[in-house]
Amino acid sequence: MSISRITVAFAKRNRQNQSAFVAYMMAGDPDLDTSRALLLGLPGAGADIVELGMPFSDPIAEGPTIQFAAQRALEAGTKMADVLALAREFRNAHPDTPLILMGYANPVHHMGWEVFAQTAADAGVDGAIIVDLPPEESQPLANALHDHDLALIRLIAPTTVGERLSQVLQGVSGFVYYVSVTGVTGVAVPDGGQVTMAVQNIRKCTDLPIAVGFGVRDPATAQQIAQSADGVVVGSAIVSALAEGGVEAALELTAKLAKAAHQR
């Protein structure tokens, strides 16, 4: 499965002329049991793909919402081993929903690129997004993941233009993640027109599905992004809903967002 699980998930929505909904949450926030309940509930609420955040002490691309989520997870004692155990439980419960681990380089580097790839593959993970591993630094991890048929998802930013865009898209797998704002997660709201143009531009360079995230907070924005993108990613809004109203509120929001993303 693995990479093909991602391909199948996007293709399924694409056939129905719909955008896939990608839900992000932080492992261990505010504790393992709560995050397990949310994680296992996401596919039922309409998430086509799940990104599971690996908490890191110094998340430099996150806005306050995800920073605090990581801090809560670490204060609750969440370890990399716990994140991978959650992934395994998810895989047992949901054989077909792709699961992507998202986080920062140091905890992965500390495990070792190969050990991480092997353990993630064993747990049933399909890919990884490492925010501070640009193409220039990602080869060792990309190779290790590739050996286990896992995708290293690349981020494309609004500043990734010209020659660099085609460079960054070389050798990618799974899907492409377009960062819709120049900034950190969950703060600024993306400009719909700009996103459409960027997505069209990226499409010229790759056949992979394109998911768009960073700053999508509500169903209206999700629906707007879904017009051009193959996938809509929401993170901070779900994390906030969990913090404010618990698992039920987070799943309720997920359902609304998924519905919006599925309405192209």
């Binding site: 002490s57 110094d58 998340p59 500390h110 640009p134 500043t159 990734t160 900034g183």
Partner: protein, 402 residues
């Protein structure tokens, strides 16, 4: 190894051996690559070099003197101790050498907004100073805990027209200020130049900051040769991120007979968890754009650093130091809070020079080294900052109310 070109690093990927690199989000990558190009061009541009030289001379007050610390030398009863007096620079520390260079580059790149992180406040003050001089908007990120212990510098920055952003995430110290500065940079990448204060961060920062700070070592090497007719037996400098140390060491790297000694902050002791000695007590990892030695736990989470000196209170170190450590070209020692406080008072009393708490760490090891080298030995220590900013916190540590 004998023909190794010590000064050649980093390689094209920004690596010193296995350290360094460019571990930043994609949003910043294009800018980091552009900065590298601009810097490569500026290095070769005589107009840039002339402009830089002019400001270093007339505005910063370079060259800084070297001074024979006669009474300290007598006190320890061993080697002859020389200070490189970078505390006499405008704004009171070595930091301005680098700020000047980076702000001149920012102007070349057409950036209108300058951001910086600061720990002790010295880098923040130096950045705010140069930004004021060139009429650029300046925002300084500073940990909430550091704002509390460095009040005089906070006020100085405000007088200079800078906006101070208090950072309360994490422990509210230098690493958290750097996280927040990076987040701001990601958000304002089009008009903003990030003036990193130490020889760390994504390539080209470690090499670029080193090159700007190497003026310290170039001057000192020529000055000591002129005064003593020979090179010192050892160069000593304190290390937080390591910019003053690499600035002093770099021009001496090829002089194999010269020992290069960095002194890290041992806080409450290396046997406690409250220190900031990344090389002595850390392991390699990835933080703030580079692979280097870090204080981290067994799950790769960054540990909190501790030091009495806000300028050394950082869980990482510049990647070139990690390289020099691993290949054994430089030696890295440490000094505790208590030892630094003692050295601070000793230097003040014997030489009439109030050192910053940062170089007081270096000074704390100079005594042992002077004895080890004996009467015929010679030590060159970088007095990289003055202690006026620390007077209040030292008083508090000594239990004195002022």
């Amino acid at each position: 190894m004998s023909n190794f070109n010590w000064q050649a690093g980093p390689d094209r990927e920004g690596r010193f051996g296995t350290f360094g690199g460019r571990y930043v989000p994609e949003t910043l990558m294009p800018l980091v690559l552009e900065l590298e190009q601009v810097w490569e061009m500026a290095k070769k541009d005589p107009v840039f070099q002339q402009e830089m030289h002019g400001f270093l001379k007339d505005y910063v007050g370079r060259p800084s003197a070297i001074y024979h610390a006669e009474r300290l030398s007598e006190h320890f009863g061993g080697a002859k101790i020389w200070f490189k007096r970078d505390e006499l620079n405008h704004t009171g520390a070595h930091k301005i050498n680098n700020c000047l260079g980076q702000v001149l580059l920012a102007k070349r790149m057409g950036k209108t907004r300058i951001i910086a992180e600061t720990g002790a406040g010295q880098h923040g003050v130096a950045t705010a100073t140069v930004a004021a001089r060139f009429g650029l908007k300046c925002v300084v990120f500073m940990g909430a805990a550091d704002i509390e212990r460095q009040k005089p510098n906070v006020f100085r920055m405000k007088l200079l027209g800078a906006e101070i952003v208090s950072v309360s995430s994490g422990t509210g110290t230098l690493k958290d200020a750097m996280n927040e500065a990076l987040r701001d940079w990601v958000t304002h990448v089009h008009d903003t130049f990030y003036v990193i204060g130490t020889a760390a961060g994504p390539h080209p920062y470690p090499a670029m900051v080193r090159d700007f700070q190497s003026v310290i070592g170039r001057e000192a090497r020529a000055q000591i040769l002129e005064r003593e007719g020979r090179l010192p037996d050892a160069c000593v400098a304190c290390i937080g991120g390591g910019s003053n140390a690499i600035g002093l060491f770099h021009p001496f790297l090829a002089d194999k007979q010269v020992r290069l000694i960095g002194v890290e902050a041992a806080g409450k002791g290396l046997d406690t968890s409250q220190h900031a000695a990344s090389l002595t007590g850390g392991t390699p990892g990835i933080l703030h754009g580079n692979r280097t030695y870090l204080l981290q736990d067994d799950d790769g989470q960054i540990a909190d650093a501790h030091s009495i000196s806000a300028g050394l209170d950082y869980p990482g170190i510049g990647p070139e130091h990690s390289f020099l450590h691993d290949i054994g070209r430089a030696e890295y020692l440490s000094a505790t809070d208590t030892e630094a406080l003692e050295a601070f008072q000793l230097c003040t009393r014997l030489e009439g020079i109030i050192p910053a708490l940062e170089p007081a760490h270096a000074l704390a090891r100079v005594g042992d080294l002077a004895k080890e080298l004996g009467k015929s030995g010679m030590i060159l220590m970088n007095m990289c900052g003055r202690g006026d900013k620390d007077v209040f916190s030292v008083a508090a540590h000594l239990g004195v109310e002022i």
